[in-house]
């Protein structure tokens, strides 16, 4: 009888208490609490970062940089010569873009970006890296079989076109400047930016939609 009551109480307790977060979530909470207690991070900074990167910062900044380069030959030249300075002109410079190189697709060259070590990525202009960019399969195959990876994304590259694979590091990250689609001569920068996909700035997309 007593055993039964104890078990019943445990069941009720189980039902009533707040849902226990996952092991990882508990460890993150523990870490954040300790860092805040020691004054090493500000909880508002963490909340603001999470809100910004889950809701606001996607690849739009990168797309606007590309659209500007398509529209303004002088800006394009500056972007290829010194990407951080050119990105700073648009007010988008962040730590992750302080060391950035822009590589340009042409009729003869297609560029593909990977981080074989972890997932280095210019997140302040492209948002958080997509799931596949962080996958071990992409990190290994992008170097070994770039054309195969591209085919998987529906990008068929002519044998005549050279595929260049750029391995990002924490010290040097890459952004692909895709080719401007034909038939877009009359478009504004805003309209052009709408055509630029996130994947085209990593290199897993090539032919962008135009008119």
């Amino acid at each position: 009888m007593t055993d039964f009551d104890a078990r019943k109480v445990a069941e009720i307790h189980e039902h009533l208490h707040s849902h226990l977060p996952s092991e990882s979530a508990l460890r993150v909470k523990a870490l954040e609490t300790l860092l805040v207690d020691k004054g090493l991070v500000n909880p508002q900074t963490i909340d603001a970062w999470v809100e910004a990167y889950t809701e606001e910062i996607g690849p739009k900044r990168g797309a606007r940089v590309v659209a500007r380069a398509w529209s303004d030959p002088e800006y394009r030249k500056r972007l290829l010569e010194n990407a951080p300075a050119a990105i700073d002109e648009m007010g988008y410079l962040g730590k992750a873009t302080a060391h950035l190189k822009v590589v340009e697709n042409t009729d003869a060259v297609h560029n593909l970006v990977v981080c074989t070590l972890c997932s280095c990525y210019p997140f302040s202009i492209l948002g958080i890296a997509p799931a596949w960019y962080k996958a071990a399969a992409y990190r290994s195959r992008a170097v070994r079989d770039p054309r195969g990876v591209l085919a998987e994304f529906g990008v068929e590259i002519d044998d005549q076109v050279e595929v260049r694979v750029w391995d990002s590091t924490a010290e040097l990250r890459y952004l692909v400047m895709p080719q401007r689609p034909a038939g877009t001569e009359g478009m504004s920068e805003d309209e052009l930016a709408e055509l630029v996909t996130r994947n085209s700035m990593i290199g897993t997309d090539r032919e962008l939609g135009g008119e």
Binding site: K38, P130, A137
Partner: protein
Amino acid sequence: MPGSLGKLPERGLILDKSATEALTPLAAVDGQPAFEEAWQAEVLAIADTLVQNGMFSAGEWSDALGAALETAAADGAVDNQETYYRCALQALETLVASNSEIDQQAMAGKREDWEQAYLSTPHGQPVNLKSD
């Protein structure tokens, strides 16, 4: 936090690694949210903040994350976002332990405090740690 991850297919008996990898549909996970759960975003937020604050460098973060990912892959962990973010958390804990006064024991203790706080808080009530 939106969405749940459609996991990459579990691998069966594989004799030819390169052949298997070729079957992994990377494009199939395109379009999935970058975070499946709030803690995953918080891990990157804390790591980025500590890089900005100078506790460790972007290069140290990259090395620690890379080492954790390599170990996970060698251990046969499933190649998905859950694994990636668990490695990121592990890298973050390691770097904090070696660059601050917060050690692994303190982390384990505080984790236990949070678990007890959840277990002792009625459903629907805000969960708070008891003050020390």
